[in-house]
């Protein structure tokens, strides 16, 4: 039963979560790696232009008459123009002293000459990239060190980076969405194997305990294997108990039948009242015990079948007609007639064996309590619900007991003269309940009992 299984998580969700989580992690990682790489490339581009600019300025520096002379090549600054109108700063130092340009670019003066140094710093509320290079000018007297710094704001670079980031983010999101869809698909197909197994087990009739033979994925083989073992054990034990019940019934009933037949044959011959009475109570005891045994077995069988209800379309009117024909000889013996009143087919979903048993018990009861030369009526109704009344012209039920009579082993207070086990109405009620129906007991206004099964 599904309702008492403790549910802990879902394989499908867990699988999907793991796959989706992995995809998300990969997407974020991709974003940062690509962005860092793009930043590096863009920075390298800016640096190489700045470096070229610095070295072209530095190349223009000459020492004339002991003074540093620098004819500023304008192309060296125009090469730095960008679409974002980045600002460009420069500074020229001679032996560490500012010769011309903007002060405070924070340039680190390189120790070695020839190579450019690059630094990033803040200047005038903007991030700037500073390239600095120096050169030693050998004069007549002393060598002079000339350093040049060129700096540029990074607006264009930031713009490019933002664009790249946006694209990478979009790409990452797309990758994530695709991976998620794939994850769910993969989880569903994997779990689908399990659901298929579940469906084919659920769809089986309750009596079908044959092993599961369809091909399954290797991971499910142990599960299906133990399921098959369980079913075969169940099948075996069911068969054993059914055989046991049949065998037990046979063992008990055959000797009872022998005693019963002898007693009856003897009863027909003996004349003394005393012996006749003895035989009479003997036969009564035999009938009591055989009836009780039969009803107990029936009740066990009904309980078993009701729990594993096999449903098929049952024509109630046809079933009742067969049953009436079968009960007719017994009714004849008592000069009681059975009338079946049904005008249209009444079809319900249910177990024909159970339904037959329930109605047999009701008709049996009616026969027991019906006086000779009366009739038992079975009335089938289809509207508003399908219901069957079994009516007799006997004494009816004692009003005080009506709600207790369906209990197990409960017999009416006025039934001493009749053989019974107190299980007939219990069986009928259990069968009705198993078919989502009810059993109602009532007394007819004109006298007699009425048992109604409503479905």
């Amino acid at each position: 039963m599904t309702n008492n299984v403790v549910v802990f998580g879902s394989l499908r969700n867990r699988l999907a979560m793991i796959l989706t989580g992995g995809a998300a992690l990969l997407a974020v990682l991709l974003f940062f790696v690509v962005r860092a790489y793009a930043t590096q490339i863009a920075q390298q581009g800016q640096d190489s232009i700045l470096g070229a600019s610095v070295s072209s300025i530095l190349d223009a520096a000459v020492l004339r008459d002991g003074a540093v002379e620098l004819d500023f090549p304008y192309a060296s600054l125009s090469m730095l123009s960008t679409s974002a109108d980045d600002r460009v700063f420069y500074a020229i130092y001679e032996d560490g002293a500012l010769l011309s340009g903007y002060d405070g670019l924070g340039a680190v003066l390189p120790v070695q000459s020839g190579e450019s140094m690059f630094t990033s710093t803040n200047y005038d509320n903007a991030t700037i990239r500073v390239a600095t290079a120096s050169r030693i000018l050998i004069g007549i007297d002393t060598p002079r060190q000339v350093s040049v710094s060129v700096a540029q704001t990074q607006d264009a670079l930031a713009e490019t980076l933002n664009r790249i980031s946006r694209n990478v983010a979009l790409f990452g999101a797309g990758f994530f969405a695709l991976a998620t869809a794939l994850a769910f698909w993969a989880a569903s197909t994997t779990i689908g194997q399990l659901s298929r197994l579940t469906t084919s087990v659920t769809r089986r009739g309750p009596q079908d305990l044959s092993p599961f033979l369809k091909p399954v994925p290797s991971e499910m083989v142990p599960l299906v294997g133990s399921l098959n073992t369980l079913m075969s054990r169940l099948d075996q034990s069911l068969k054993q108990s059914e055989d046991f019940i049949a065998e037990a019934a046979h063992r008990v009933r055959t000797p009872l039948a022998t005693v019963r037949s002898y007693a009856e044959a003897t009863f027909q011959r003996v004349e003394t009242q005393e012996n006749r009475d003895a035989l009479r109570s003997m036969m009564r005891a035999i009938d009591e015990s055989s009836r009780a045994a039969g009803q107990l077995l029936d009740h066990a069988m009904v309980t078993f079948r009701a729990e594993n209800l096999e449903r098929e379309d049952v024509e109630l009117d046809g079933l009742l007609r067969d049953l009436v024909q079968r009960m007719m000889p017994v009714a004849d013996m008592r000069d009681v007639t059975i009338d079946l009143e049904s005008t249209e087919p009444a079809i319900i979903r249910g177990d024909p064996v159970l339904l037959q048993n329930a109605f047999r018990n009701l008709i049996d009861n009616a026969l027991k309590y019906a006086p000779a030369d009366t009739s038992i009526t079975i009335h089938v109704q289809t509207k508003p619900r399908i219901s069957v009344d079994v009516l007799d012209q006997g004494r009816g039920f004692l009003p005080a007991e009506m709600d207790k009579l369906a209990g197990r082993f409960v017999r009416g207070g006025d039934t001493q003269g009749h053989i019974g086990s107190g299980l007939g109405l219990t069986i009928a009620q259990d069968v009705a309940t198993a078919h989502n129906g009810t059993m109602v007991l009532s007394n007819r206004p004109e006298g007699g009992a009425c048992v109604t099964l409503q479905f």
Binding site: V252, A257, R260, S261, E264, F267, V302, P329, M333, D335
Partner: protein, 222 residues
């Protein structure tokens, strides 16, 4: 009537034979399927009573064989098995009815009668007494051209009386035969049925004579 009883338990078979003998029936007894087959081939039976669990096989296999051989002698199965599961397969295999052990002989008789009635065509051996014709299988009584459908106890009473013409039956004997021991009836109940039969037979050459203190006897003018 002639019965074939297939039953492996000798005591039960004995008891059934002696009880059926009381009603004037002739019973052959087979203890195994092989014997039953031999009996069924040779003898003409009105009805076969068949047990299910037999030493050399299942009674159902006999039933199958029996039906396959186009033998249409009606079969009533005597079953001791659980009532719910067995009955359907039994009727499917071609049994005409079944009785669960232990059984009431009156019920067995009633079932035999019902089966024979269902199986019989129109031509039936009837008993003729003077100007009265009596069909015990179908329960018809024909008095001077008028057909009367007898109720069960009337039928059984008339059958008892006609089977032993001229014999005197005490009221007690008749009560024993007509009513189940369960029905706690007085001997006077017999008078009701005697009365009904007398009414049916009114004006015919058959009459039921009361012998004071002894019982009843069926007489008819030749």
């Amino acid at each position: 009537m002639k019965f074939l009883l297939v039953e492996d338990n000798p005591e039960l078979a004995n008891a059934i034979c002696s009880r059926m003998g009381l009603d004037g029936h002739q019973v052959d007894h087979a203890a195994k399927i092989s014997e039953a087959v031999a009996f069924a081939q040779v003898g003409e039976y009105d009805l076969i009573l068949l047990d299910i669990m037999l030493p050399d096989g299942d009674g159902r296999s006999f039933l199958k064989q029996h039906r396959a051989a186009k033998n249409d002698t009606p079969v009533i199965v005597l079953t001791a098995r659980s009532q719910v599961s067995d009955r359907i397969s039994m009727l499917d295999l071609g049994a005409d009815d079944y009785v669960t052990k232990p059984f009431d002989h009156a019920e067995l008789q009633a079932r035999c009668r019902a089966v024979l009635r269902r199986k019989s065509g129109t031509a039936q051996p009837t008993t003729r007494l003077g100007d009265v014709e009596f069909d015990p299988v179908r329960g018809y009584l024909n008095v001077k051209g008028t057909t009367i459908n007898l109720r069960n106890r009337e039928l059984r009473l008339l059958e008892l009386l006609t089977n032993a013409k001229g014999r005197v039956f005490s009221k007690q004997k008749l009560v024993d035969r007509l009513f189940s021991y369960e029905d706690d009836v007085s001997e006077n109940a017999v008078e009701v049925y005697i009365g009904r039969l007398r009414k049916h037979l009114e004006g015919s050459s058959v009459q039921i004579t009361t012998l004071r203190g002894l019982g009843y006897r069926l007489d008819h003018d030749e």
